[in-house]
């Protein structure tokens, strides 16, 4: 590798385009498209009695109205359960348009298509749907009580009981020197990408083919779903993810009703149709995450070492289970974090409620698992009078224990075996970064100013880069341009930069010659999607392997021309040359031309590849058996199992005891995602994740009332932190290479968000001396807490040894 780009903080090449308004997002496509709007249920649980469209029929510009009755074939069947699991005993999904019963406010009942969105909404407002209201179940405790059922045929509201254990927990708890039990809650939040969902479909009547643009994290799978539901052959459907304004998980769910209904309408009407989700729709009809009730019992010895851990979680999965029990599994398996837990049992009851579906949002069950484990560590420290850092140190998996088998089964169906890591190293760096051992002085200084200062920490291990696979295609054109494509999609992560860095590094070409395409099924048909911190691991390795294939072929062809051995050649700055022999070289673009023997020349460069251009070897066919024309290669990366990144965060909060405002004044991150391709991009991912962690800890919640009405379905009342609420983040890196993949990398996309609630809860508790059992927490709630009978909490002074 002579053109060194791997590991460099290369500036994001997509930014100039995206921040100057040159991006091409879903709503930028199809200016002449008809527009779809939806009549959505105003009730959380109701029977649809009658749909009267007559009032809308006179609206000028109305083109079509569709209800469930208009759906045919597979479209009239329930939406797919994307990830079946034997423990998901009662999966339920809705229909593209409500059939008989609506299960949450916002469920689509009628689709209206009109000349534009204004007209479509006018018509939608004139459609009268009558409902018979049914009892409503809101919140994990109401679901658990099961006074009412969300689905008639699931009277206990339990969709799944997930259960894993690594030993016999009850005797292990009985034999423990100390045990404590407690219950805590995490609230709902949501992905909230800047761009909501959106679909544009164009039917080509001559080709009998469909092109769909959708703001998705999984274009290949949307394509397969549309083909199946609309009964089209796969090659007649193209799906393209254009620029996508953020996903954070909500766009991995598919097919959304709109992803089927908009193409259906385009085909029926013979005209482009588009639907662009508005913010209110996003709040009430996309997806949320995070709500859990966690019942924890832990056994530990005199020194604070855990001897047994028993966790029972009640997980709110909303009205339906299209994404299976992935979040329960992730919480269950990632909960143990960087710790060696001798005996662990986890049970997750995933329950239905009459609320928006619950599917992965950045972190995807990990923040809750981290909250359970890290708050347990704090409890043990408090009970034993130990420094919170010291208790964690005593329970960490040590460097010589890798690979470390947690004896659990991960979301990819594979064992949870930590491939590599240095958890004591993380802790040492974190303590240094926040000056953990001398916090008492800072607290005293704040006390003198009339402020309460507190510090907290949290550690995590994150399974990243799950399979099954991703692929990459690399092609060198005769112009010297290098085309790279991979099937997974981009939502702003910087894939254009990172994949170009990798290919430029592997191939030895200038980065500006490399063009990257993602998420376009016309370019790459096989892919899984962008989720679970997997793009760099999966597609990064796949495009690197594809580039290596191209390099090998280029050297083989060039070796013949240069009359040298391939081992004696190198590629640098797009030039193939004999090592140490200046002038003995051939441009890679010429190699690309020669790789494709031609009969017809169409330009000067092509002439070099035609049959009379020079003496050939008449003993061999122009394209050898087993070879193929063109300087290109496709390869795939399919991991044996996930790779496990890790990190440690600390937060310092300052609280004004006259207003109970909570200010995160310092936030420190030590982050280990294996070999780092681009540290600037990794830091950006961490910053964004921390912002969402702060949001989840202090601001964001979905405030449902008991009727299932979302009280804060707008950005005025659903509070995401502004830049002014996000603390400066200091980051220290640790690089523990993964032995599982060629590049030695681990995922980084979700890390920043995982420990936020745990670390900030710990810091607030440290500042005010009261037990925090529910996150998020706002100033008004903190005021209630300090006036309540909640347990007083005393942390041992940081740095103190027992």
């Amino acid at each position: 590798m002579t053109t060194k780009l791997f590991g460099e903080p290369v500036r994001r090449r997509e930014d100039a385009r995206l921040i100057t308004g040159q991006g091409r997002y879903l709503d930028d496509i199809g200016a002449d498209a008809y527009a779809a709007a939806f009549v959505r249920s105003p009730y959380a649980h109701a029977r649809v009695v009658d749909i009267d469209v007559t009032g809308a029929l006179d609206v000028e510009g109305l083109l079509a109205i569709y209800t469930y009755e208009d759906l045919t074939g597979p479209l009239a069947e329930p939406l797919p359960v994307l990830i079946p699991h034997p423990q998901l005993t009662h999966p339920r999904t809705g229909y593209p348009l409500a059939k008989d019963v609506v299960q949450h406010v916002g469920e689509a009942v009628v689709m209206v298509v009109a000349t534009d969105r204004y007209v479509a909404e006018d018509a939608a407002a004139l459609i009268a749907v009558s409902y018979e209201e049914l009892p409503v179940v809101v919140g994990v405790d109401a679901a658990r009580a099961a006074t009412h059922a969300v689905h008639d045929d699931v009277p206990d509201n339990v969709a799944a009981r997930h259960h894993q254990e690594t030993g016999d927990v009850e005797p292990a708890l009985a034999a423990s020197t100390h045990t404590i039990s407690f219950t805590q809650y995490v609230e709902r939040s949501a992905s909230m990408p800047m761009e909501g969902k959106g679909v544009h479909a164009r039917w080509d009547a001559d080709d009998q083919a469909l092109r769909v643009y959708t703001s998705t994290q999984a274009s290949t799978s949307v394509r397969a779903a549309i083909a199946a539901k609309l009964q089209l052959s796969l090659e007649k459907v193209e799906v393209i993810a254009p620029d996508v304004g953020g996903g954070f998980g909500v766009k991995i769910v598919h097919p959304w009703p709109e992803e089927l209904l908009v193409p259906m309408a385009a085909r029926l009407l013979g005209h482009e149709v588009k639907w662009t989700e508005d913010r209110r729709e996003h709040f009430i009809s996309s997806a949320h995450e995070r709500q859990q009730r966690q019942e924890i019992t832990v056994g530990y010895d005199e020194d604070g070492r855990i001897t047994a851990l028993d966790v029972h979680i009640w997980h709110d999965n909303g009205a339906y289970t299209p994404y299976g029990i992935i979040i329960p599994i992730v919480t269950a398996t990632q909960l143990v974090g960087p710790y060696a837990i001798p005996v662990y049992r986890v049970r997750v009851d995933s329950v239905f409620t009459n609320t928006v579906i619950v599917t992965p949002y950045r972190g995807a069950g990990r923040p809750q698992g981290c909250f359970a484990m890290e708050r347990t560590m704090d409890r043990i420290a408090q009970e034993r009078g130990l420094d919170r850092a010291e208790v964690r140190m005593r329970n960490l998996i040590q460097g010589d224990q890798f690979p470390y088998d947690q004896h659990l089964t991960f979301q990819d169906g594979r064992p949870v075996i930590y491939d590599s890591g240095d958890y004591p190293g993380l802790m040492a760096k974190l303590k240094a970064l926040v000056d953990w051992d001398s916090f008492a002085e800072r607290r005293a200084e704040a006390t003198a100013r009339g402020r309460m200062l507190g510090i907290g920490m949290a550690m995590y291990v994150e399974g990243t880069g799950p399979g099954p696979y991703e692929g990459g295609h690399v092609q060198v054109l005769g112009s010297g341009k290098v085309l790279v494509s991979t099937g997974l999609t981009s939502q702003g992560q910087g894939h254009e930069t990172v994949f170009a860095q990798l290919v430029a590094s592997e191939l030895g070409v200038p980065m500006e010659d490399v063009e990257v395409t993602t998420g376009d099924t016309r370019r790459f048909g096989y892919a899984v999607g962008t989720f679970a911190s997997r793009a760099a691991v999966m597609s990064g390795n796949a495009v690197a392997l594809a580039a290596r294939g191209v390099r090998e072929k280029a050297l083989r062809i060039a070796a013949e021309v240069l009359e040298a051995s391939p081992e004696d050649l190198e590629i640098d700055e797009g030039l193939v040359q004999v090592k140490g022999v200046p002038g003995a070289s051939i441009p890679l673009r010429t190699v690309a031309v020669l790789s494709n023997p031609l009969r017809y020349a169409f330009d000067e460069a092509a002439k070099q590849a035609t049959q009379f251009a020079g003496p050939g070897d008449d003993s061999k066919p122009p394209v050898a058996v087993g070879d193929a024309p063109g300087l290109e290669h496709t390869d795939y990366y399919s991991p044996i199992r996930s790779t496990f990144a890790s990190g440690a965060h600390a937060a310092v909060v300052e609280i004004d005891p006259s207003t109970w405002e909570i200010d995160v004044v310092q936030y420190a991150v030590v982050h280990d995602c294996g070999n780092v391709v681009n540290p600037m991009i990794v830091e950006g991912q961490v910053h964004g994740g921390v912002a969402q962690g702060v949001g989840g800890a202090l601001y964001e919640r979905m405030a449902y009332d008991s009727d299932g009405q979302l009280q804060n379905a707008s950005f005025m009342d659903f509070l995401m932190p502004y830049a002014s609420e996000v603390p400066p983040v200091v980051i220290d890196h640790q690089e523990t290479a993964s032995p599982l993949n060629p590049l030695g990398i681990k995922g980084a996309g979700e890390a920043g968000v995982i420990p936020g609630s745990a670390a900030i809860a710990s810091a607030i508790e440290d500042a005010v001396g009261r037990r925090i059992a529910t996150m998020p927490i706002s100033p008004t709630e903190l005021y209630d807490l300090v006036r309540s009978s909640a347990d007083p909490v005393t942390n041992s002074q940081t740095g103190a040894m027992a």
């Binding site: 006259s658 601001y699 707008s714 009342d717 706002s778």
Partner: protein
């Protein structure tokens, strides 16, 4: 989130605006900066038949600062009032309060008079109008009239201005001699609607003893209220006045509601805290101004 159909008029004189409003009746709505009205339209929470855009009416974009007070025209943006040194010199509360109005993008578009006509008890300028004992000038087909703040605010999002009418300006009386002001808010995020806000005026005598302390609050009542807190601090030298007692007095006078972001109890706590803090600042300013004048 697209508005229902509406007609649009952009008159160039007040008379023409009143003609349109008269002709269209109750379904017509005046549009100035649109920062409150347009979201209501987009969410179809309001569906006026006609929007009467007053942005082309001449002469309404002026800030007139005189010895008696500051007159703010109906088309003056929050940002312009925030930037006006002349207005701040006459009535410092104007700049201090507008600095708390939302974010720059909203201040660049939203109008001070529009937010008063909107009568949101969470708005900064409704409380400032009350605290300064201000008024508005309203044009109707019958002529022009002045309405004092007590008669203007009827309820949340409701004023006494009905029928065809355009609010032409708001008048904020000047800060009296030997007086100081302060304004502070607690919001969930910087620039959000205040969970609670307080504006105060403190006046001192020649011996630098407090003669009066008055406060107005945001987001604690249905309409702006002005509370006289003089009883807790009057007669005391500024540097030994018990501002906390005034805060305690205030928290007993207000009757806030709870909502998603704050309980009524928490708002009462903030009334006490913000009152204490702002009174201390305003008292110090009153002293400084009194010494400067003497």
């Amino acid at each position: 989130m697209k508005p229902a159909p509406f007609a649009y008029a952009d008159p160039t004189t007040v008379e023409e605006a009143l003609d349109v409003l008269t002709a269209e009746g109750e379904g017509a709505k005046v549009l100035a900066g649109g920062q409150s009205l347009l979201p209501l339209l987009s969410m179809r929470l309001a569906a006026p038949t006609t929007l009467v855009d007053i942005n082309r009416l001449p002469g309404l974009d002026r800030i007139e600062a005189g010895p008696n007070g500051v007159r703010v025209g109906a088309l003056v943006r929050h940002a312009a009032l925030l930037a006006s040194a002349e207005a701040a010199a006459v009535q410092p509360l104007l700049g201090r309060a507008t600095a708390n109005v939302a974010h720059p993008a909203i201040r660049n578009r939203g109008t001070t008079v529009g937010s008063i006509a909107h009568a949101d008890p969470s708005g900064e300028m409704t409380s400032v109008l009350a605290l300064t004992d201000g008024s508005v000038t309203v044009a109707t087909p019958g002529g022009r009239s002045t309405i004092g703040w007590r008669d203007l605010f009827v309820g949340p999002l409701e004023t006494s201005v009905h029928g065809p009418a355009v609010v032409l300006d708001a008048f904020f009386p000047a800060l009296p001699a030997r007086s100081g002001t302060a304004f502070a808010e607690v919001a969930r995020r910087k620039g959000d609607y205040a969970v609670c806000g307080a504006g105060v005026v403190v006046t001192v005598d020649d011996d630098l003893r407090v003669t009066a302390a008055r406060a107005a609050y945001l987001s604690v009542g249905l309409v702006p209220e002005v509370h006289d807190l003089s009883g807790a601090v009057a007669g005391k030298p500024v540097d030994s006045a018990d501002w906390a007692a005034a805060g305690a007095l205030a928290s007993g006078l207000v009757d806030p509601d709870g909502d998603l972001h704050a309980s009524a109890d928490y708002r009462r706590l903030l009334v006490a805290t913000l009152t204490e803090r702002t009174l201390a600042d305003a008292g110090a300013e009153a002293v400084a101004r009194a010494l400067e004048a003497s």
